[in-house]
């Protein structure tokens, strides 16, 4: 059940992008529309899960000194496979838009970080759970960013126009700033999202701290918790 626990933990609590701050380049460059962001995250998910599996299978045979190059080779081979699969099955417009960023999954820190930090120490099932969790968490993050950027920049979601329905064409009631789709918009969106998640995390820990001190209603906490909180309660 460790695998399921790891899966659930890595989606939100250890989200690859917002908590571990990995895979920044792709999250900024490929989130111009929800479709691009989704396929990018899908490719990354496939690479992470398969690389985690293989690394975990061969973890006892890799000499410690050359483990990073070994991980890189495993990851690079899966990236090549995913690259070919994307060329064959993904929509051509998406492949053209993602372009160089599919081969660049090799150097997008997420797969390497997971191989080094988790898969090299755990058994296969746990590593697959971890890869799935990290991949799904990364996908949610990318879809969130690209939904914001596409809605504000183009007024659409998954290429379905939304704001155009209010007032079509040049007479549109809502004028969308195209800066959200290009470079600076990506930085602003990601910066605000980082600040938002940080604020939420801090508020949660603050609330817990308040709950443990004397100010909270004492009969709901019980005496032993109060005693625990006493040294740092002040």
């Amino acid at each position: 059940m460790e695998a399921v626990r790891q899966f659930r933990k890595t989606i939100f609590k250890e989200n690859a992008l917002f908590v571990l701050v990995l895979g920044l380049c792709a999250s900024l460059a490929t989130t111009t529309s929800v479709k691009n962001g989704f396929f990018m995250a899908l490719a990354t998910l496939c690479v992470i899960v398969s690389a985690n599996t293989i690394v975990s299978l061969i973890r006892r045979r890799i000499p410690n000194g050359v483990r990073i190059p070994c991980f890189i080779i495993v990851i690079a081979s899966f990236v090549m496979i995913v690259d070919m699969l994307m060329n064959a099955f993904a929509p051509p417009a998406v492949v053209a838009a993602l372009g160089i960023f599919i081969p660049l999954i090799v150097v997008n820190c997420v797969p390497l970080a997971r191989a080094e930090a988790y898969a090299a120490k755990q058994n296969v099932i746990n590593s697959v759970g971890d890869g799935m969790g990290i991949g799904v968490g990364y996908m949610l993050a990318l879809v969130l960013i690209s939904a914001i950027r596409e809605f504000l920049g183009n007024g659409s979601f998954w290429e379905i126009p939304i704001t155009a329905a209010i007032g079509p064409g040049d007479k549109a009631l809502i004028k969308t700033p195209s800066a959200m789709v290009i470079g600076p918009g990506a930085f602003i969106t990601l910066g605000c999202l980082f600040a938002f998640f940080k604020w939420r995390r801090e508020r949660k820990t603050h609330a817990r701290a308040v709950l443990l001190t004397e100010t909270a209603v004492p009969w709901e906490i019980g005496p032993e918790k109060k005693r625990e909180a006493a040294p740092d309660g002040a």
Partner: protein, 235 residues
Amino acid sequence: MELIYIIIGWVFVNNYVLSQFLGLCPFIGVSKKTPAAVSMGLAVTFVLTMDSFVTFPIYVYFIQPGPQNLFYSLTSSFGFGGAAEFIKTYGLSEVLTTGSFILVIAALVQLVEMVIRKTSKPLYDSLGIYLALITTNCIVLAVPLNNLKQIKPGGDWVGKSFPEGLMWATISGLVAGLGFTLVMLLMSGVRERLAITKLPKPFQGIPIVFISAALMGLAFFGFTGIITGLKANLG
């Protein structure tokens, strides 16, 4: 003239960090202090120059289809006519490109790490883990992959024969590195000021760096028209 276009184009207009989002990990991670940021920029510049110099011949002589491929002359001199024809039309598989490039880059980064550790211990300590992580810095793989677009059949750079093409490939790596160094320098200056500024608590740390990068990116967009303007005026 061409050199000026390349420099302005890759340092200001198509800056790798601000408009193509490559090399963000050190941009966020090592830009707290100016000396560390600049030396990181210079280390990346060195790796970029070297790897565009090395990967260009690797691609042309081992992977690209055509008679210049070394495997073609090897197989034809040993009398494997069929294999030689195959190499001439298809080359080695293009999917090997990423793998072979990343191996070369990993070796180069190892070299740079050893040199810095031997020559300057304080610098080595301040760069920390990001020195080894140049390998997983997108920019060092993206520049050689971008260079591939300029290589024409037969191993020529656009409009140039081989030795001169090699020079232009190296220059493109150097210029990309200079653009990276410039942005690192600017960002570390901004962050040194930000460190003594009172900020709302959630924005401290990474978020404000992104907001500053957005503003910097907007400023860099002002350079967009400069190339067409130069071409119109200087010919």
